[in-house]
């Protein structure tokens, strides 16, 4: 199981003929993802060639528009590698084509462009993930984005993270501790985005394979505080462990991610840790203790044996 994407998800790659997109298309194919089409305006008729996980040749056809690609292939998801100044438009094109899941990897999309995108999403069926995120990976089935697949092992822990590298770091620690994962979802480091912690938590709550969740947050905004409250009220049966980065971040400084900024004294790591602890969620002391903290949480909930899958 897992959430949002699986082995049957039919994926198009927007901006597929770009260097990074072509590289990651190969990686996604090799992981087992069903890439059925690519989109680059003006490049219809070309193909992007790769190999699937069994080593068979795959020729991914390129179309001019998302609509053409969907009509020809029945795709239901998209991953976007389009440059920042065109990315918001690409997201809206994918929403307009009524795709179920749209993942946007692109960093540095202007915030006011994302405000428009969020307005455009209202009343539409699409679940947008990102932007400025590493994507989503359901173990051994499918990945959309840039997450390195080999560190993931099948299991029962869901991972939600605002940071790309911390998703890899945390998953690496989980796998090393023998704790496999259902789906890892990078929700992205931007202030205005498609999916936030609560949205992802709701999906994991309804996934019978996911028995526990790891949340990786950082300074800026109050999504972690909101999530803590939501977990207490709505998900008593699935334990959650967490990590928050940016304890030492000075106020008013943007720490790499557009959304990672303490403004007006709000959005500090201390506040987030306090809110999580207050509802009984263990927060790892340092980034090196994420794996240990999850193990501790699973043991406390009596599901360690069940979750020790690899």
């Amino acid at each position: 199981m897992g959430i949002l994407v699986n082995k049957d998800t039919k994926v198009i790659v927007q901006g597929i003929t770009g260097k990074q997109a072509t590289f990651h298309t190969m990686q996604m194919l090799a992981y087992g993802t069903k890439i059925v089409a690519g989109v680059t305006p003006g490049k219809a008729g070309q193909t992007v060639d790769g190999k699937d996980k069994d080593g068979n040749e795959v020729k991914v056809p390129v179309f001019n528009t998302v609509k053409d690609a969907v009509d020809a292939t029945g795709a239901n998801a998209s991953v976007i590698y389009v440059p920042a100044r065109f990315a918001a438009d690409s997201i809206m094109e994918a929403i307009d084509a009524e795709l179920d899941v749209v993942v946007c990897i692109t960093e540095h999309i202007p915030v006011l462009d994302m405000v428009k995108v969020r307005r455009y999403l209202e009343g539409k069926k699409t679940r947008l993930i990102g932007p400025n995120c590493p994507g989503i990976l359901t173990t051994d089935e499918c990945k959309l984005g840039i997450i390195p697949g080999y560190i993931h092992k099948k299991g029962h822990v869901g991972v939600i993270s605002r940071s790309g590298t911390l998703t890899y770091e945390a998953t690496f620690q989980l796998t090393a501790a023998g704790i496999g994962q259902t789906t890892a979802i990078g929700i992205g480091g931007d202030p205005v985005k498609g999916t936030d912690f609560i949205d992802a938590l709701k999906l994991f709550k309804d996934d019978p394979d996911t028995l526990a969740v790891l949340m990786i947050g950082e300074i800026g905004g109050n999504a972690e505080e909101d999530a803590a409250k939501w977990i207490k009220e709505n998900m008593p049966d699935k334990p959650v462990a967490a990590f928050i980065s940016g304890r030492q971040a000075p106020p008013g400084k943007r720490m790499g991610h557009a959304g990672a900024i303490i403004s007006g004294g709000k959005g500090t790591a201390a506040d987030k840790i306090k809110a999580l602890n207050a509802v009984g969620i263990d927060v790892a002391d340092t980034v090196a203790h994420i794996g240990d903290t999850v193990v501790k949480t699973l043991k406390k909930a009596g599901i360690y044996e069940k979750c020790h899958t690899c």
Partner: protein
């Protein structure tokens, strides 16, 4: 990106926002000439630095004649102003704003920001003008009023009207206040601001409404479509290392300490700063080298960390995802060639932790090309602990 108050007011004026008559001055002579030209009985001499809290720190003076203007200008230009927002080092005043004095009846607060939760621009206003809005929000949140703006419709007249009445403005000031709000919103949208703040917005004794102070911050991701704003950048207000890093496409924040770190990914970079502190270190910086870490970029990063003798030790913490550990290892070797005389040593201890894509290969490269002072760490935890220990030993 931030700009000065006088620049903010020039931008706002071009959008029709009512601002006091004013001119920037870079010297005492210019200050006096500007005051003469403005010609009001009272002029305000305002220090221009990229930080708030200037009034309380003595950076804003009321002058009643040209002699006073000259005196205050002499006093402020070149002075290091320490405000609540500058930190203890303060900021040197290189520019002044000379402005006509206003006859203030009451002060208000007005701002626009993007609200993360609703993904909408929100207009916030308060009757508690001239105060720190964070303090008002904490102590008397009922005195802050908000209007969420539909991006398709824009700021509607009923919203500015509702806000003006909530603020309790006198009848003749309602329309001027509404105009100021909508002009400020247009500037916010038109220039891709991340913050537009008027504190205080003042009601004058003849029922006019104007922006007495103004602060605009801009969304860095949108600067490509505002070359006029980019030109307003004052690099003397920024950390030289941060500027150098930005030019090399490195995400760097100077934290002032002596244990440096070089990391890939913003989240892991923040977490690395935290773990250095956890083990008792004093972090020198946040540094995210990003996803495409070629050897030249890594070498540049080392240069910046070592500049000025700030770093007494460096922790390289890499989890290879898109970027590959072998490239980072090559980068460390390339850096040694640049930063040392013999080309194969580091001036301070460098502890390297490589994990993820091509980690084995990276470790192999560093094993085969030994560089003095470079130590491989078996784990992240061990590496962080070790570099802090080495720096503390060197200091003792």
């Amino acid at each position: 990106m931030n700009i000065h108050e006088y620049q903010s007011k020039q931008v706002l004026k071009s959008f029709g926002v009512n601002v006091p008559n004013g001119k920037p001055a870079f010297s005492v002579e210019e200050a006096v000439a500007a005051a003469k030209e403005i010609g009001t009985s009272v002029v305000v001499v305002k220090a221009q630095i990229h930080a708030g809290g200037r009034g309380k720190a003595g950076g804003v003076k009321l002058a009643h004649n040209l002699d006073e203007v000259e005196q205050f200008a002499k006093e402020l230009l070149g002075k290091v102003l320490v405000t609540k927002q500058t930190g203890p080092a303060g900021k040197k005043v290189n520019r002044l704003l000379i402005e006509s004095g206003a006859d203030i009846a009451k002060e208000y607060y007005l701002s626009f920001v993007v609200d993360r939760q609703t993904a909408k621009v929100v207009m916030m206003a308060s009757t508690e003008g001239g105060m720190e809005i964070e303090k008002v929000a904490a102590e008397t949140p009922e005195k802050i009023f908000k209007e969420y703006i539909d991006p398709v419709i824009g700021l509607a007249p009923f919203q500015t009207s509702r806000m003006a009445y909530k603020l309790g403005l006198p009848k003749p000031a309602i329309r001027p206040a509404q105009k100021l709000m909508s002009c400020l919103y247009n500037a916010f949208i038109g220039k891709d601001c991340s913050l537009a703040e008027i504190n205080p917005m003042v009601l004058t004794k003849d029922n006019d409404v104007m922006a007495l102070d103004a602060k605009l911050n801009f969304d860095d991701s949108a600067l490509y479509r505002h070359p006029d704003i980019v030109e307003l950048r004052d690099e003397t207000e920024e950390d030289p290392k941060e500027l150098e890093a930005a030019a090399a496409d490195l995400n760097y924040v100077n934290l002032g300490g002596d244990v440096a770190c070089m990391v890939n990914g913003a989240g892991l970079a923040m977490a690395t700063v935290d773990i250095l502190k956890y083990f008792g270190g004093d972090p020198a910086n946040f540094l995210d080298v990003g996803g495409d870490s070629n050897p030249e970029k890594i070498a540049k990063a080392f240069n910046i960390m070592l500049e000025g003798g700030q770093s007494k030790g460096i922790f390289v913490n890499i989890f290879g995802g898109i970027n590959r550990c072998d490239q980072v290892a090559e980068g460390v070797i390339a850096a040694a060639k640049i930063v040392s005389e013999d080309g194969k040593s580091m001036p301070v201890p460098v502890v390297v932790r490589l994990e993820g894509t091509n980690a084995e290969k990276g470790r192999e490269i560093l094993k085969n090309t030994p560089i003095k002072n470079v130590i491989m760490a078996p784990t992240m935890e061990g590496g962080a602990e070790q570099i802090v220990k080495l720096v503390n030993e060197a200091k003792a």
